[in-house]
Amino acid sequence: MNAADKKRLLREMLFARRFEERCYEAYVERKIGGFLHLYPGQEACAFGVLDAARPGHDYVITGYRDHVHAIKCGADPKEVMAELFGKETGSSKGRGGSMHIFDTKHHFMGGYALVGGPFPLAVGMAKGIKLKGGDEISICFLGDAANNQGTFHETLNMAALWELPVLFVCENNLYGIGTRIDRSTAVVDQYKRVCGYNIPAAQVDGQDIEKVHAAAKIAVEHVRSGKGPYFLELMTYRYRGHSMSDSNAYRAKEEERMWSKRDPIIMLRDRLIKAGEMSADDYKKMDDDVLDHIENEIIKFAEESPEPKVEELERYVLADNDPWVKGGAH
């Protein structure tokens, strides 16, 4: 990874961090409702993997902690924020909310709220790619706790059996909602769980974007070359609770302090400064630009956008005027 790419990724991660922090504020201000699952701490996972793939071309699917993955795929952050604000201009026209960001024109195929629900959908997309003969791959980002769902095992089995082009990315943040992984899961190292399906797997430091990127390049190449699925486990940590309704009381402060020293943004920033690629002032300016962009463009857009019309409440339930419902057009 060259210096320019590192700087670009630093900015993208910083943007994601500030975006999510601003969501937190908007939630407190009650501009955002429902459940809100934030990404700070885990940025190197989405950016490291997707930068090694082809965002906007490869099909990406994830769970409910989905804003950042959507943005990296190419979703307009204004539309993502407007979605959180419940506006008609939102990515899902205000019908989805935080857990259901979609941007299909950039092949971001959605955030889903049932833990483990996206596994089979991801493999189905891989089946679709294979049938259509494209060179895309399907990438499924989920947390460690999703691996305790039956869909994990059922899906790995089918992915391996049919050699489907799917990359499973396990962002292991050590907690399933409020339960620490060793209290819910017999095998803590998630990559070991896939060996029963003959799927190649690797476990990588998820806080170091260069390591994530290098591992993801190997994984993506394996999948794209037609060799079947791959499983990548990224060891990471979320700074906030599972969602906004989680006070995070179950985690030791010492553990949180330890992980904060391994912040993916700070690590990359310090590396760039040390290498003489940027100065502390450059970083400050980058941060100011990001904050300004979020406040004056993104939040402004979300605030000023109209809400959906109540008269359109029943749109999007079923297709509009599908001729086959009446038995065909003839």
Partner: protein, 325 residues
């Protein structure tokens, strides 16, 4: 018109749609090499190969989800779930993914899958292989539910369902696969909304769907001998129910009997009666009646099993009671 069996009609629809569109695939347990438990996919594996006729592991929720995910990319999967009892396991993917994805994506994504599954009480299969689950599916927004009562419908509904952009659940019946009936020789597409007047009459409307249409017809023929003229309506669409069709018939006959193989609670009968209340209450000459199963897990013992499920005789008894005859 050729006479064919219900399973042959379903097989023909698969074959025609798969010939037309290489993105139409079918999948399910034992549907390929084994040819399908009810033969509905017989011979397709040899004709279209393992990439398009997929023998799945016994993982109902995940292979259904796989079909749904493939449909996001324009594939048109026909998913067979061997028994509706097993479809319970797939309801997470059917309800949470297929039925909701269009809405929660603001219309960006659709899941044009067809899920076929037989329910019903066959012959002493016991509580876990005898469910009638249509009531569960018909209450979910974003999902179409149809149920063919004849080979012609089974053929034409599958043809339309494959091409429709919405997810469609086709509720079939274990006892009906060998039923014979006429199917048009030319391609035929059955509507996925509406109902059908199977027999026109003036004294009372018998509402049935799937197998219970046949009980209604048998009852109507017997009752005709006693001068009772029944209208029989085939509610081949369970979601959305045909409000206008229900209203039209009850406004004509002023009496209604709703016949279902499932238990009464929270079922097709309750829903049809609610529609009658809402649409044509003042046209009624008598309170509508439900004919339904006893609310028990289906027993194994043959005598107990028979006592659980209604039949043409229970329909006749209900009509006589309703008319005070």
């Amino acid at each position: 018109m050729a006479v064919m069996m219900y399973w042959e009609a379903i097989r023909r629809a698969h074959d025609e749609e798969m010939t037309r569109d290489p993105l139409v695939i079918c999948m399910g347990e034992d549907i390929g090499v084994a040819g399908g438990t009810y033969k509905a996919t017989q011979g397709l594996y040899d004709k279209y190969g393992p990439e398009r006729v997929i023998d799945t592991p016994i993982s109902e929720n995940s292979y259904t989800g796989l079909g749904i995910g493939a449909s996001f990319l324009g594939v048109r999967p026909i998913i067979e779930i061997m028994s509706v009892n097993f479809a319970w396991l797939a309801t997470d993917q059917i309800f949470n993914s297929a039925a909701k994805v269009r809405y929660m994506s603001g219309g960006q994504l659709t899941a044009p899958v067809v899920i076929r599954s037989p329910g019903g009480t066959a012959h002493q299969l016991g509580a876990q292989h005898s469910a009638r689950m249509e009531k569960v599916f018909m209450g979910v927004a974003g999902l179409r539910v149809v149920t063919p009562s004849s080979p012609k419908q089974a053929y034409g509904m599958l043809k339309s369902a494959v091409r429709c952009d919405d997810p469609v659940f086709i509720y079939e019946h274990e006892l009906m696969y060998n039923m014979k009936g006429e199917v048009p020789d030319a391609e035929y597409f059955h509507p996925l909304e509406g109902s059908e007047v199977t027999r026109s009459g003036k004294d009372v409307t018998l509402f049935g769907y799937n197998i219970s249409v046949h009980w209604c017809m048998q009852a109507a023929e017997q009752l005709a001998k006693n001068g009772i003229d029944c209208e029989v309506i085939d509610l081949y669409t369970l979601s959305p129910l045909d409000r206008a069709g229900i209203q039209k018939s009850v406004s004509k006959t002023h009496r209604a009997v709703v016949v279902e193989e499932a238990e009464a609670a929270v079922g097709v009968g309750s829903e049809v009666m609610a529609i009658i209340n809402e649409e044509c209450f003042f046209d009624l000459d008598a309170a509508p009646v439900r004919v339904s199963a006893v609310n028990v897990p289906i027993p194994y013992n043959h005598r107990l099993e028979k006592a659980t499920i209604p039949n043409a005789k229970s329909v006749m008894a209900a009509v006589r009671k309703l008319l005070g005859k």
